[in-house]
């Protein structure tokens, strides 16, 4: 199989699997080492798909948070034994020497630690989510959902949502232009000054237009046969290649080891 740009992207179902793994990572509170390995693995497909800028930004953010977390460890711990191997003895004398050490640096360390642990835990999800969102086309997504036997009641709204976002942006610009023409909410902060009025003036035309578009789309979709019972086919072909399976396996192993406490 020739390595083309398309084949270097994973199958949509493999992407969903990665998302699931990232969620499991969050759920089981895997320790820092396992987390770092998983993050590195999750960043790989992003680079493989040619999203260098995006991938580098996420990588830098993750390592900055990691550094912050280590710094806060160092500050709050003030030398009570190395990080992850906290033993029972550590717990006991930790209780004893906490009393007087409530200085500003420790508080700052705690806040920084909470922030870094918190955001860092979200990072695997964010990375896989960014990957899934930026590299999947609508037809691939729909095809994958149909293959996974997601009911049409879910597939159709999903399709419409993705399709409708650009329309909303376009409508919003038109509405703002019309408002400016009438001298409503013209200034920079005018929208914020009258929040209720802005909400009404923007949302009502959007909703009006939404009802019209929904009617048009229904007619178009029914003409194309969306309402016909039976199986629907897709233009885009998706296949799970050996690479998808291999990558899924490679990502699963460290997670399983980390959850099992081996790593």
């Amino acid at each position: 199989m020739p390595v083309t740009a398309a084949s270097r992207r994973l199958d949509p179902r493999a992407k969903l699997y990665l998302l699931l793994l990232a969620n499991l990572l969050l759920f089981f509170h895997v320790d820092t080492r396992g987390e770092a390995i998983m993050v590195a693995l999750f960043l790989l497909p992003l680079f493989a798909a040619g999203r260098w800028k995006n991938g580098l930004r996420l990588a830098v953010l993750y390592f900055a948070l990691l550094g912050l977390g280590l710094w806060s460890d160092a500050v709050t711990l003030d030398g009570a034994g190395g990080g992850s191997g906290g033993s029972l003895i550590g717990m006991m004398d930790g209780g004893a020497n906490d009393g007087g050490a409530a200085t500003f640096a420790v508080t700052a360390g705690h806040v920084a630690g909470l922030l870094s642990v918190g955001i860092r835990m979200m990072m695997p999800c964010l990375i896989t989510g960014a990957y899934a969102f930026t590299t999947t086309s609508i037809s691939e997504f729909v095809c994958a959902m149909r293959r996974m036997h997601v009911p049409e009641a879910i597939v159709i709204p999903c399709m419409v949502v993705i399709r409708f976002f650009p329309t909303i942006v376009h409508d919003y610009r038109q509405i703002r232009n019309a408002m400016a023409l009438r001298g409503i909410a013209a200034g920079r902060f005018a929208l914020v000054r009258h929040p209720v009025q802005s909400l009404e003036f923007i949302l009502v035309p959007l909703l009006m237009n939404a009802t019209i578009v929904s009617r048009d789309l229904s007619v178009a979709a029914l003409t194309k046969g969306l309402g016909i019972a039976g199986e629907h086919t897709c233009m885009t072909v998706i296949r799970m290649s050996w690479f998808d399976w291999a990558f899924m396996a490679v990502c699963t192993v460290p997670l399983a080891l980390a959850i099992g406490g081996v790593l």
Binding site: N23, L26, D93, D98, A153, C158, V160, L203, V204, V213
Partner: protein, 208 residues
């Protein structure tokens, strides 16, 4: 434009969701999603680290979208599908899987409540809306999970349980109830606002 109330090709009294209904739901879901994004922006700007008020802010501004979608679709399943699709999008955009569960369970409950009044009674729709709004608590639930993780890491590093309790007990319980109460209040206000907008603009235009 003259007959906006007719779904394109469908027997008028079918109680199941047909393709035109699903397309309407999709469009309202897109608008709802945009509102949620605006709410995310607002809640992070105004409240600083107060992402915990995200569902409350969303409840405040999503009223009109919800009310119009109920008026337009008015069948069982509409609200649920809206929640499920939002949950899927949250999941795919990298939110916690639990947010998916929340955005299925609460909209389903809201759907059932609105169904009592046959999607016509204003009170049941309003209550349904408030319940629906709790579906968005999913994205903020990790905040409490993060706290757990931080506590776990503190424990691993040898801090005593009493110390940890001191540090976190009030923050977590207090902020949790404040956030939940804020959703209730904002949901009521937002729903009322939505129904007012509906009456003022859409009923008159024959759309709702």
């Amino acid at each position: 434009m003259n007959q906006p109330n007719q779904p394109a090709v469908q027997s008028p009294k079918s109680s199941r969701l047909a393709v035109p209904d699903l397309i309407s739901i999709g469009i309202f879901t897109a608008l709802y999603f945009v509102c949620v994004c605006v709410a995310t922006l607002v809640s992070t700007l105004i409240a600083g680290a107060g992402t915990i008020f995200l569902p409350a802010v969303a409840a405040l501004i999503c009223g009109p979208v919800f009310m119009l979608s109920v008026a337009r679709v008015g069948k069982f399943g509409g609200i649920t599908v809206m929640g499920v699709v939002i949950g899927l999008f949250l999941f795919v955009s990298g939110h916690f899987a639990l947010s998916f569960v929340a955005s299925v369970v609460f909209p389903l409950a809201g759907d059932l409540i609105a169904r009592i009044g046959n999607y016509k009674n204003r009170v049941t729709i309003l209550i349904g809306y408030v319940v629906f709004c709790y579906g968005l608590t999913g994205p903020i639930l990790p905040l409490w999970f993060m706290k757990d993780a931080y506590v776990a890491s503190l424990e691993a590093r040898g801090k005593s349980a009493a110390y940890i309790n001191d540090l976190f007990s009030q923050i977590s319980v207090g902020s949790f109830f404040v956030a939940m109460a804020a959703i209730l209040v904002c949901g009521l206000i937002g729903g009322w606002f939505g129904q007012r907008i509906l009456k003022k603009h859409f009923v008159k235009a024959g759309i709702a």
